[in-house]
């Protein structure tokens, strides 16, 4: 099978879902023409009437998906940029997350919200943000953030089949970053499981999205210096694979949590807290978090943006400090 990048993996998965189940439909801004990143390219033609352009109304895109799911449809909503999703925050958090709960499990809500997130594309303050921490705080919705084509494919498939609302985060820098033979590459098929992507005895890195690739690149460089890293691809942030997180922390006793989101209240704090609570005795060094600085938005200027985002060099530097502790 030919190798595909993340965008191709997503497009093929959407195409299959539309072919296999007539309850599936796609709704979003510009999706009929293929969307900003071309994720839905060609799908409107192949599935007439089931790939639906919406006006710019993010709250309603999500609310309409909820309503359609109430009638047994399997909506896949696309929010053009993750930065735009907050207009629909109420629909996701006040309504979608609670349907199973308020109906005592008599009802369920199968819907997916896909959205491109993250920086490194000079998108500035409204086209670059990390949004995961707002939504991982909300019990009742799942939050998935893959890094490799094969996982994007298998987890998007799992998200569409899931009876719960799933926020499917697509880091826009990963769209064309790597290719994989998705039929044969390792892929996680269950939401809620993390994967230990690389094993090394000196320290453990936790990451997701673009930062996972940066961690792997840093680990490669560090291996040349004799520092061996374990790298955990979290894949699913809510629910979180707590068992694998703790296991990977215990394996090395030194933990570096990396994310592109700003530090305070970021998802890394949750990882750090879990390890501190449940694996404290195994730690040989304070848990280290590497994240974007606490400033309101990803800056536009290329050098400022680079300063804002963690990357391979910053990760390697933090890892060296930690290894030497």
């Amino acid at each position: 099978m030919a190798e595909v990048n993340v965008l191709e993996a997503i497009r093929e998965t959407l195409d299959e879902a539309l072919s296999e189940d007539d309850r599936v439909f796609i709704i979003g801004e510009d999706v009929e023409a293929g969307g900003v990143f071309r994720a839905t390219d060609g799908l409107a033609k192949r599935h007439p009437g089931r790939v639906k352009d919406s006006p710019l109304a993010e709250s309603s895109i999500i609310g309409i998906s909820i309503g359609a799911a109430h009638y047994g449809m399997r909506p896949i909503a696309e929010i053009q940029f993750a930065d735009f999703i907050h207009a629909g925050f109420d629909q996701l958090c006040s309504e979608a997350s609670r349907w199973s709960y308020r109906t005592k499990g008599e009802q369920y809500l199968p819907m997916v919200v896909r959205t491109p997130w993250g920086g490194g594309v000079h998108g500035g303050q409204h086209h670059s943000q990390s949004i995961e921490a707002y939504y991982t705080h909300m019990p009742g919705i799942k939050v998935v953030a893959p890094s490799f084509p094969a996982d994007y494919r298998s987890l998007l498939k799992a998200s569409i089949a899931d009876p719960n609302p799933v926020l499917f985060l697509e880091h826009k820098r990963t769209y064309r970053l790597v290719k994989q033979d998705v039929a044969n590459a390792p892929a996680e098929t269950s939401i809620g499981r993390a994967r230990i992507t690389r094993r090394g005895a000196d320290l453990t890195m936790f990451a997701y999205g673009l930062m996972l690739h940066e961690c792997l690149a840093a680990s490669e460089e560090l291996a040349g210096e004799g520092i061996e890293c374990t790298v955990v691809d979290l894949l699913s942030l809510q629910p979180l694979d707590v068992e694998t997180v703790l296991e990977a922390a215990r394996m090395t006793g030194k933990v570096l949590v990396v994310h592109e989101d700003t530090l305070t209240g970021g998802f890394g704090g949750e990882i750090a807290a879990l390890i501190a609570e449940h694996a404290f005795e195994y730690l040989d060094a304070p848990i280290r978090r590497l994240a974007a600085p606490d400033i309101p938005a990803m800056p536009y200027h290329h050098a400022m943006e680079a300063f804002f985002m963690p990357d391979k060099q910053k990760i390697a530097a933090a890892a060296r400090d930690l290894a030497a502790y």
Binding site: P55, S60, A68, M73, Q91, E95, Y101, G105
Partner: protein
Amino acid sequence: MSTETQTPTTLRGLTREQADHFLHQMVLIRRFEEKSGEMYTKGKIRGFLHLYTGQEACAVGAVNVLEERDKVITHYRDHGHALARGLDPNRIMAELYGRVDGVSGGRGGSMHLYDVEKGFLGGYAIVTAHLPLAVGLGLASNLQNEDFVTLCIFGDGSVGEGEFHEALNLAALWDTPVIFFCENNLYGMGVPFQQSLSTEISTLAEAYGITTENVDGMDVVDVYHAAKRAVEHCRAGSGPYFIEALTYRYRGHSMADPELYRLKEEVDEHRKRDAIQRLRSEMVEAGWLDDAGYQAVVDRVEREVDEAVAFADASPEPALESLFDNILAEDARG
């Protein structure tokens, strides 16, 4: 002339059976709400309680037009709509009490009733958040080539929210079978709706190209006929329909409302339009009802409401361990 020939077969288009049913439902809602208020002051019901007293004609006139396959989605002042849709009064009262046998097992309370089996998709207490959901139900109806209609009820307080405008635009754009039913009770909490809106409510709906009508929301027959036109319009695939029903709530916004924004005289003035008394006197005029007949309706309702209270009182408190159940649905269920 015999008595039989003097008795008309319809009352402004209602059959006698319908009129009996409407009268019973309106009296039931009225009494259920009064009793809920009593139980609130006794501490049996807690939190926020919003009574529907005065607005009965809206729920009864509109909901009764629907078929079984149609859907109702509504706002937080939802007891009347639930009762009109045929939800069990016992289970509604148990929900107000927060008991196991309540429709939501005590998780929802007054503002979050639902019964999906009955096509009652719930009360929503984030004002206007349910309007896009109604459009989604309408979209599903179209995508699946079904002909079910969604009755979406909200108050005048909704029209300032962005989602009101998004939903109207989308419903009209996609010709979704949604009846937007605005219960204009003149106040958003304590603010007269004119202070919240630069134009008329129905003008807004018309601006989106939606067929719109205004009705007297305290005349159950008028409401019924408007809703009937709306259902026919939606069922025929002609897109959404908008009804603005002018109504009035006799009680405060919630039990905690001291009602400083209106005079008692204003409330009394609106009570002269009372929907129950209007239908009652029309039925008397038609020879369909006498004092004994009306008293029989009141007595029946009294029994039903007493039974609901007894049921709620007897229902167990929910087990705290059940709090963790159903946070997520477990399986794909096809």
